[in-house]
């Protein structure tokens, strides 16, 4: 039927002896910092899987769909058009002198990245039951691959922003480079929330059901369709506790206004992201240890 597979595809014993072997010790799960470093080492070993799976997410989404990659653009674009109709024709929103279309689109970019990541990643573990109960790999790769795929969509959708800015003759300044650290902070934040939600979803499926509502509320609690200046000054300190406020407002500032970010609000977001991520990762690893039993 097929030729004999030669044993040259198998590393022989002598070659094995020379290579140092990694010793793994498996114990009962516990919440610990050493689990954090151990988890990161394992994750690095499986970095190829993270890459393959993220590419796979992107490919599968656009294979056999007529519009292909343009779906990445269509989603924020259609939202932008709806909000533009509502908030600049029906109910005029103060936009600090910007055309409403570009004002809302620039905020919808990071917001869509955030919401797409979360709505997909929350189901990341649950929708791969057959894998999770049969093969071991660092489980965080599942939610992370959705975050990376959404980041890819973000990059595609950004091209439309460039088009809008040329149309409205809005120039970029060097301050636009601040977009890079802002997106980095956003990515840390998305990752933290994605890890937390996907692990919790395994035990409480309510999370997945509540996600659309939660994301809707979260968006209106962030300066996407209105500017930060529209929030009453007395409430502003409280409002800033939403980490998406610092991200979205400063992204808009850096790109559209060409101004350096407000380091106070961005600092709050960064601090929340940096504290949340390790905590979420440790929690995720604790759930991971027995996820195959309860999924």
């Amino acid at each position: 039927m097929s030729p004999d597979i030669s044993s040259n595809t198998i590393t022989d014993a002598t070659a094995r002896e020379t290579a140092p072997r990694r010793v793994t010790v498996i114990r009962a799960p516990s919440l610990s910092l050493s689990g954090l470093t151990g988890g990161l080492v394992k994750l690095a070993q499986y970095s190829d899987l993270l890459y393959t799976l993220s590419v796979h997410r992107i490919k599968v989404r656009y294979k056999q769909s007529l519009l292909g990659v343009s779906w990445a653009i269509l989603q924020p674009l259609s939202l932008m058009l709806i909000y533009t109709v509502i908030f600049s024709f029906i109910e005029r929103v103060q936009t600090e002198g910007m055309p409403y279309a570009v004002f809302s689109y620039v905020a919808l970019l990071p917001w869509t990245y955030f919401s797409t990541s979360l709505s997909n990643a929350t189901n990341g573990l649950v929708s791969h039951q057959e894998l999770v109960t049969k093969v071991y790999f660092p489980r965080e790769i599942l939610p992370l691959s959705y975050v990376i795929a959404a980041l890819f969509d973000f990059a595609i959708a950004s091209t439309v922003l460039a088009g809008l800015m040329i149309y409205y003759r809005i120039g970029l300044t060097l301050n636009a480079l601040y977009a890079v650290p802002i997106i980095l902070i956003l990515t840390l934040l998305v990752t933290a929330v994605a890890l937390f939600l996907s692990a919790t979803q395994v035990r409480f499926r309510d999370i997945g059901v509540a996600m659309p509502l939660l994301l809707q509320l979260w968006m209106f609690a962030s300066p996407v369709v209105y500017p930060l200046s529209a929030v009453p000054p007395g409430l502003r300190d409280f409002y800033l506790l939403n980490p998406m406020v610092g991200v979205i407002e400063n992204f808009r500032r850096a790109i559209l206004q060409g101004a350096p970010p407000d380091f106070r609000s961005l600092g709050v977001s960064a601090l929340i992201a940096v504290v949340l991520l390790p905590a979420a990762y440790i929690y995720f690893k604790r759930v991971e240890a027995t996820v195959a039993d309860i999924i």
């Binding site: 039927m1 097929s2 030729p3 004999d4 597979i5 044993s7 595809t9 198998i10 590393t11 022989d12 014993a13 094995r16 072997r21 990694r22 010793v23 793994t24 010790v25 498996i26 114990r27 009962a28 799960p29 070993q45 499986y46 190829d48 899987l49 890459y51 393959t52 799976l53 796979h56 490919k59 599968v60 294979k63 056999q64 057959e130 894998l131 999770v132 109960t133 049969k134 093969v135 071991y136 790999f137 240890a289 027995t290 996820v291 195959a292 039993d293």
Partner: protein
């Protein structure tokens, strides 16, 4: 050099009970109660310790629910132990239910990369082995076809082929050999043999006792999550078979056949080898005797004795019966024995369960039926042939001799 070490490993599962009928009426209150409710505990694996040396092949056997699969899940990190410690020295890969990582929309090639990475292979390594993987699975011309267009056979072959190319230091094998056609299974076994010769440490979990005996250097027997024996394959497998019979008869009896009238009662079933010694182990292709004791309570004009042989998966393999050979069997009241014997046992290596029926010729009612409760028989390699059974035959050679005008003739039975 110890590659794998389990040190007092235990795994507890919690089984949550359904809320009782008299619980609160409000669904929310009931839900909260059920969350607080104490769940039942179940130890799938209890205080298990064993070691596997480098290059050794260890078999793990036991009944369903004895903890075999749980041990496999613990070793492959799918789930964590409740207590105890597992030390793994080297790269470990598990070959469990292959093909579960396939995505139907992606092509064969894309799936090889995806599945390979899920199993822990580096992309570069997959590229190196791509040809060999495709060749082994025999799917070259479908490499760029979405796997949803694959036949189920191609699916399974590709899945196994990827896993077989993992080249780990320690290989875990579940019942993977139960896939594909006979030719592919033979190829898989050959591949596993190659890995073993190359010095791979193997842990093999299977119901196929003859495969375990062929492949393994040592066998661990599990019962209810605990190790009850560990040692040479032949000894441990024999012990398992003895408990297998005990286990079966301890099962609650099935619903009695309504029409069962015990005019003749089944006695003891025994096997004897070529030398006439009583044994529970016979050899393929060698002389055998099956002896069945009975007690008749009435005069029977035309009785039929039947002994059925079932494989471990409860599939009927063959039968000894007085219905089709010899004449009428008339019984007088009293005890007796009926013996079936032959020169070449047709069954090949494996474990067989037996079932006995005594009935009247042409009748649909049985006098007695053992309901799979009779002795288990193990068949060891004797005259081992390829195929599904041993067919007793004679041969005779005829040849024209140049030196002698008379034709030389050899006959052998």
């Amino acid at each position: 050099m110890i590659d794998l070490k389990l040190d007092h490993v235990s795994k507890r599962y919690r089984i949550r009970r359904e809320a009782e009928a008299g619980a609160a009426r409000n669904p929310l209150v009931r839900k909260l109660q059920s969350l607080r409710q104490r769940s039942e505990q179940f130890w799938a694996v209890r205080d298990v310790s064993f070691e596997v040396a480098r290059g050794e092949a260890l078999g793990i056997i036991g009944h369903n629910g004895a903890g075999k699969s749980t041990i496999l899940k613990l070793l492959s990190s799918i789930t964590a132990p409740t207590s105890g410690e597992i030390t793994i020295n080297g790269r470990l890969s598990a070959l469990i239910e292959v093909g579960s990582g396939f995505h139907p929309e992606l092509t064969g090639r894309e799936n090889i990369y995806l599945n390979g990475s899920i199993l822990g292979m580096r992309r570069r390594r997959i590229t190196e082995k791509l040809d060999s993987i495709v060749e082994f699975a025999g799917v070259r011309q479908f490499l760029d076809t979405p796997v949803k267009r694959f036949s189920s056979g191609m699916y399974v072959r590709l899945g196994f082929s990827i896993a077989a190319h993992l080249d780990p230091d320690i290989l875990l094998l579940d019942e993977v050999l139960a896939v594909g056609d006979a030719a592919f299974q033979a190829k898989c076994l050959q591949r596993i043999g190659d890995l073993k010769r190359a010095g791979t440490t193997i842990v093999f979990i299977s119901h196929d006792l003859s495969a375990v005996e062929r492949l393994c250097d040592r066998v661990v027997l599990l019962r209810q999550g605990e190790v009850i024996a560990c040692g040479a394959p032949h000894d441990v497998i024999t012990q398992y078979q003895n408990t297998a019979v005990a286990f079966q008869s301890s099962q609650p009896p099935r619903e009695e056949m309504a029409n069962q009238q015990k005019l003749v009662e089944i006695g003891r079933l025994a096997f004897r080898d070529a030398e006439g010694r009583e044994t529970s182990v016979l050899r393929a292709g060698e002389p055998f005797t099956v002896s069945l004791g009975f007690t008749a309570h009435e005069r029977i004009a035309d009785a039929v004795f039947e002994v059925f042989f079932y494989s471990a998966d409860r599939e009927l393999q063959c039968q000894c019966t007085t219905e089709v050979i010899g004449g009428r069997v008339a019984l007088e009241p009293g005890a007796g024995t009926i013996e079936f014997s032959g020169q070449g046992l047709g069954l090949l290596t494996g474990v067989y369960y037996t079932d006995v029926v005594i009935k009247e010729r042409g009748a649909t009612e049985f006098f007695d039926w053992s309901q799979w409760d009779s002795a288990a028989l193990r068949v060891d390699p004797g005259k081992l042939v390829r195929g599904k059974f041993y067919m007793p035959c004679e041969w005779r050679l005829t040849q024209e001799s140049e030196a002698d005008t008379a034709a030389a003739e050899t006959t052998w039975t």
